[in-house]
Symmetry: C2
Subunit: 124 residues, 2 copies
């Protein structure tokens, strides 16, 4: 598929798909005329990128964790330098922190909503 279809299927502006490519998050083949071509796997990939961006991770970090997520677990050991492993461990922990923070606050919001709903139905 070309960029327009990927854009539609992921709900992502073309502009951003080019940006993600520029940042090294996705790669695109090119047709002889220069058009970008993508295969189906890019849809999931873009969704994942958007989710992580939305969760506060910068592209720089996303680029580093994406290679860990390939389903056929192929580990490129040249990438597995000690620094890289330290970075990944650090990111893993930061993600855990984020999850904790989000969970705590989401639960509080949810509880608030429950209480309000209860009052409203009782009072009406």
């Amino acid at each position: 598929m070309r960029i327009g279809e990927l854009s539609e299927r992921t709900g992502t502006p073309r502009r951003l798909l080019r940006y993600y490519e520029e940042q090294g998050l996705i790669v695109a083949d090119r047709l002889p005329n220069g058009y970008r071509v993508y295969d189906g796997s890019n849809v999931d990939r873009v969704m994942q990128i958007r989710g992580l961006l939305d969760a506060g991770l910068p592209t720089r970090i996303i680029k580093q964790i994406l290679p860990c997520l390939n389903k056929p677990r192929v580990i490129h050991f040249p990438d597995a330098t000690p620094e890289m492993l330290a970075t990944l461990e650090n990111e893993r922990d930061r993600m855990t922190d984020r999850i904790r923070c989000l969970t705590r606050n989401r639960d509080a919001v949810a509880e608030y909503l429950d209480v309000v709903r209860e009052k409203l139905t009782a009072g009406a």
Copy 2:
């Protein structure tokens, strides 16, 4: 305490504490000379704000969910307009999405690290 101490205790630049105040996320009393004064509760509050910012929520949203998080559950019903409730429900769901995404990816990173560590200790 004044802004310097709050800054130290939260690891947050003064500049940002003033910014959060400007955005309506925290309030500060003022000494006669104009200096900001804070009490201990602001430490937790600032930490919470930073956590949420780090998790990708914009100040605009944080400002809306913070009132739900007061421990003595005091619900200001003037705030509880239908639009506000809809906003909160929407945010709650978005937070749930973020949690899911982060959890999935964190687990993948963790698993990757486990595999690499295993290979390294076995191979060395």
